[in-house]
C-alpha cells in the first residue's frame, strides 16, 4: 500500500520535472492542494479503488499501479472534458450511497463488498439496493440523497468508467496509463517500436 502511494508521488514528482511549471504553478496560486488535475484527493482515492476493482492486481499489477487514475484524470481535462460533470457527481453519489448503506466510504469497504456494490451499479440496481439496506439499518435514506443517487447512478457511469479503465490499462502509455507497458508485458506483446522523427516521445509518460 505504502509503496503504491510512493510510486504515484514519485510519478507526480517526475512530472514536475518535465512540465511542472505549467501544471503546478496555477495550483499553488489557487491554493489547491489536490495532486490531480481534475480529481480532488478524495476522489482520487475512490477512483483508485474503483479501477482496481475493474482490473485487479493478481500476479500482474492492477489498474491502480498501472496509473489508470492518472490516465482518467488527464483525459478529463482534455478529450474527456465533456465527462467532468458526470464524474464529479457520480463519484459523489457513490460515496453518499455507501455512507447510507454501510456508514463507510467505498474505498473502506471490504473487497467483496466493493465488488458487489459495483455489480449492482452495473446492473443499475443501486437505488433499490440502497433502500433495502437502509431499511435493515433502520435509518431511511433521505429523499434528497435518493434523488441525487438516482440522477447520477442510474445512467451509464459504470460503463463509462469501465471503458476508461480499459483504455488506461491497455492503451498507449503516452496518455498517462499503462505504466511501463504493463498490459503489453502481461499479454506477451513487445512494446511497439517508436518510429519516425519524433523518437523523443518514447520517454514522455505524462
Amino acid at each position: 500500500m505504502k509503496e503504491t502511494v510512493y510510486s504515484r508521488r514519485k510519478f507526480i514528482k517526475s512530472l514536475s520535472i518535465g512540465v511542472g511549471s505549467l501544471l503546478l504553478l496555477p495550483k499553488c496560486t489557487f491554493e489547491k492542494t489536490s495532486s490531480w488535475r481534475f480529481f480532488t484527493n478524495e476522489e482520487g482515492l475512490l477512483v483508485d479503488a474503483i479501477v482496481e476493482q475493474i482490473i485487479p492486481t493478481d500476479e500482474w499489477p492492477g489498474a491502480k499501479d498501472a496509473m489508470v487514475t492518472n490516465f482518467i484524470d488527464k483525459q478529463l481535462v482534455g478529450p474527456y472534458a465533456r465527462h467532468q460533470e458526470i464524474y464529479r457527481n457520480s463519484l459523489s453519489a457513490i460515496q453518499i450511497a455507501c455512507r447510507n448503506a454501510f456508514n463507510k466510504k467505498f474505498e473502506e469497504l471490504d473487497w467483496d463488498k466493493q465488488t458487489s456494490f459495483l455489480i449492482s451499479l452495473e446492473k443499475n440496481e443501486i437505488v433499490s439496493k440502497m433502500i433495502d439496506k437502509s431499511a435493515t439499518h433502520g435509518n431511511a435514506i433521505s429523499d434528497a440523497d435518493k434523488k441525487f443517487i438516482e440522477n447520477w447512478l442510474k445512467g451509464n457511469f459504470f460503463n463509462l468508467i469501465r471503458n476508461h479503465t480499459m483504455q488506461g490499462f491497455y492503451g498507449s502509455p503516452r496518455h498517462g496509463g499503462n505504466y511501463k507497458f504493463v498490459s503489453y508485458r502481461m499479454i506477451g506483446l513487445d512494446p511497439y517500436p517508436i518510429m519516425g522523427q519524433n523518437r523523443y516521445k518514447a520517454s514522455s509518460n505524462g
Partner: protein
C-alpha cells in the same frame, strides 16, 4: 485578390478525388484540388491505439476533429443526437490528403460482375431500392487495372476461381500468410473452399519508389511509418502536383457549389485555411467528399434554380445510404495463433459472395485485422465477464489464442436510409451539418446469419475449442454511414430514380460531377476502396477524354 479561374475544381483529396485530379491534370487541364484537412503525419500518433482512425476514443488521428465538426444522428424517429467525429455514429473518414487511403486496412478488391447487376441477378427485393448499375464490370475493368498499377496492389488471383476476369496481373506478388492464415488455408481446403491471399494496396516488394511493407502490428487505423501503404496521397496526388497543372489547397472547407442563372455550375464557395470565405471559379466541378459529405454539399447548395439542393429535384440526393453489415465469428484455440505479423488480415474466401441459397448476394470472408489490446477488451464470448479478475485473466490468456474471421455482407439499399442536412445545427464555419437517419434494410438479417454460419464453421474445422458468432443482424438497425459509406448520389440512366448519369455527371447540370462512393448503386460484398479509385479513373478519364475532344460541358 480573386482566385484565377481554372478548368476544374475537385472537392476532396481521397480515394476518388485524388485520382480525378491526376487524370485531369495529366490531360492538361488546370485543376484546384480542395482538401478540408492537411497532410497526415505518422509521427503524431505512432502506434497510439486510443488516438487512431480505427479506435478513436481520444480522437481521430487524421481528423476530422471534435472542435469544428459534428453531425446529427436520428437514432429513432424524432430523437435527435449530436455526434462528434470520434464517436461511433459519426462515420469518420479521415480528413487529410489521401483521406481513408492513408490509414485504411488497404484491401484491394474488385467487385464481381454480379455486384453491378444485383437486380437482374436476384430480382427485386421487397422494401429495398436494389438496382443494377448503369455500367458493368467490363466497363470498369480497365479502371481497376489502372488503379492497381498506378497506386499499387499486391495479390494473385490464381487460387481464386471466383475472381472476376482481368487482362493483366497485379503489379506485386501477394503477401505471405501469417500463422492464423496458414491454419485457415489448410482448413478451408478441407471444407472444399478456395482460400487465397487478400489483395492489398501495400508494397509486398519495393514499388512506386517506396519501400517494402515490414508487417507492423498496428497498420489499419494508422499512416504507414515507412510509406509502404499505397494511397492517393503518395501516388496519384503527387503525380497531379508534379504536372504543374494541379494546385492542392489544403485546410480549405468547401461550403457551397455556385450556380448561375441558367443552371450552370460556376465554381465553389469555400473557407480558406484562415477561415476566410473565398470563391473559386471553374468550368467544371467534381465532388468527391465521401457519401455523406458529397450529399451534404449538394444539399447545402440551394439556389432559385435548385431550391432543394443541386440534383435533388426528385428527392434522391442522400438516399440509399449504405455501409456493410460486418458479420462473422470468433474462436478460442488451445494454442497461440498470434505471431505479431501485421496487419493480421491475410486470407480470404470468395465462395460465398454470390449464388448462395436463400439469400441475396453475400460477401467475402477474411481473417480479421489484428485487434490491439484495448480493442481486444471488446472481444469475448457472449455472457463472459467484462471486468474484474476474470476478464483480466481472459485478456492475458486469450489475446494470442483468438482467431477471427468476418466479412462485409452486401447491404440491401434502403430508400429511407439517408443523409440530409440539419439547418439548426451548424459546424464551426456555420455550414448546416449532415443528418443521418432511417433504417437499413431488414433483409440483411438472413444474409448476415448465413455468412456468420460459414465463418463459424471455418473456425470449428480449424480446431477452435470455443466459438461464437458476431455481427448477425437480428432486428431493425439504424442506417450505416461508416467508413464504407456509399450510395447517396446513385448513378443511373433514369434521372427520376438516380442523381448522376453513368459518367458521374449530375443529371440536372451540364458540368457538375460526382466521383466517390456516393455513385455506388450497390456496395458489393467487399471493402470498397479500390472500386472508388476505379470510379475516379472512370469519371476522370471520361471528363479528360471529352475535354481533349473540345467538349466544355456547357
Amino acid at each position: 485578390m480573386a482566385n484565377k479561374h481554372v478548368n476544374a475544381i475537385v472537392v476532396g483529396a481521397g480515394a476518388g478525388g485524388g485520382v480525378v485530379a491526376k487524370e485531369l491534370s495529366v490531360a492538361g487541364m488546370s485543376v484546384v484540388l480542395f482538401e478540408r484537412g492537411g497532410w497526415a503525419n505518422y509521427d503524431d500518433h505512432d502506434q497510439d491505439e486510443l488516438f487512431s482512425q480505427r479506435t478513436t476514443v481520444l480522437g481521430n488521428a487524421y481528423g476530422p476533429d471534435n472542435i469544428r465538426y459534428k453531425r446529427v444522428r436520428m437514432w429513432s424517429e424524432g430523437e435527435k443526437t449530436i455526434v462528434l467525429p470520434n464517436e461511433g455514429g459519426y462515420g469518420n473518414n479521415a480528413a487529410c490528403v489521401g483521406s481513408g487511403t492513408v490509414s485504411y486496412g488497404a484491401m484491394a478488391w474488385r467487385f464481381m460482375p454480379e455486384d453491378f447487376k444485383m437486380k437482374s441477378t436476384y430480382g427485386p427485393v421487397e422494401g429495398s431500392t436494389l438496382e443494377d448499375w448503369p455500367i458493368s464490370y467490363e466497363d470498369l475493368e480497365p479502371c481497376y487495372e489502372k488503379a492497381e498499377w498506378e497506386i499499387g496492389v499486391a495479390g494473385d488471383d490464381s487460387l481464386n476461381p471466383f475472381a472476376p476476369p482481368r487482362r493483366k496481373p497485379r503489379p506485386m506478388p501477394p503477401f505471405e500468410h501469417n500463422k492464423e492464415a496458414q491454419l485457415l488455408q489448410a482448413t478451408a481446403k478441407r471444407l472444399g473452399w478456395y482460400p487465397f491471399p487478400i489483395p492489398m494496396l501495400r508494397n509486398s516488394i519495393p514499388y512506386g519508389g517506396r519501400p517494402q511493407c515490414y508487417r507492423i502490428r498496428g497498420c489499419v487505423g494508422f499512416a504507414c511509418p515507412v510509406n509502404a501503404k499505397c494511397g492517393t496521397h503518395n501516388t496519384v496526388i503527387p503525380v497531379a502536383i508534379a504536372t504543374g497543372n494541379c494546385e492542392l489547397r489544403i485546410n480549405c472547407v468547401v461550403s457551397e457549389i455556385n450556380v448561375n442563372n441558367s443552371g450552370n455550375i460556376t465554381g465553389v464557395t469555400y473557407f480558406d485555411e484562415k477561415n476566410k470565405k473565398q470563391t473559386q471559379t471553374a468550368d467544371i466541378v467534381v465532388v468527391a467528399g465521401s457519401a455523406t459529405e458529397t450529399a451534404r454539399l449538394l444539399l447545402n447548395s440551394k439556389s432559385s434554380f435548385f431550391p432543394a439542393g443541386i440534383g435533388n429535384e426528385n428527392d434522391w440526393v442522400g438516399r440509399n445510404l449504405q455501409d456493410h453489415a460486418y458479420c462473422g465469428a470468433a474462436g478460442i484455440f488451445d494454442y497461440e495463433l498470434y505471431d505479431d505479423k501485421g496487419p493480421g488480415a491475410s486470407i480470404a474466401i470468395s465462395d460465398f459472395n454470390h449464388h448462395n441459397p436463400g439469400i441475396v448476394g453475400g460477401g467475402v470472408i477474411c481473417n480479421e485485422f489484428n485487434a490491439l489490446p484495448y480493442l481486444f477488451t471488446g472481444i469475448r464470448p457472449p455472457g463472459s465477464a467484462r471486468w474484474g479478475a476474470e476478464h483480466k485473466k481472459f485478456q492475458r490468456e486469450n489475446y494470442k489464442r483468438i482467431g477471427r474471421v468476418q466479412g462485409p455482407y452486401q447491404e440491401m439499399p434502403s430508400f429511407e436510409a439517408r443523409v440530409d442536412v440539419d439547418n439548426e445545427v451548424r459546424d464551426f464555419w456555420g455550414i448546416p451539418v449532415c443528418r443521418i437517419s432511417g433504417r437499413a434494410s431488414i433483409k440483411d438479417a438472413e444474409g448476415t446469419a448465413f455468412m456468420a454460419d460459414k465463418a463459424e464453421k471455418w473456425l470449428l474445422e480449424a480446431g477452435a475449442i470455443q466459438t461464437w458468432k458476431t455481427g448477425v443482424v437480428t432486428g431493425e438497425r439504424p442506417a450505416g454511414g461508416g467508413q464504407h459509406q456509399a450510395g447517396t448520389c446513385r448513378m443511373g440512366n433514369d434521372p427520376k430514380t438516380s442523381v448522376c448519369d453513368k459518367f458521374g455527371r449530375v443529371h440536372s447540370t451540364p458540368n457538375l460531377f460526382v466521383a466517390d462512393g456516393s455513385l455506388h448503386v450497390t456496395n458489393g460484398g467487399f471493402n470498397p476502396a479500390l472500386t472508388i479509385m476505379a470510379l475516379g479513373y472512370w469519371v476522370g478519364g471520361h471528363i479528360a477524354g471529352e475535354w481533349q475532344k473540345g467538349n466544355r460541358f456547357k
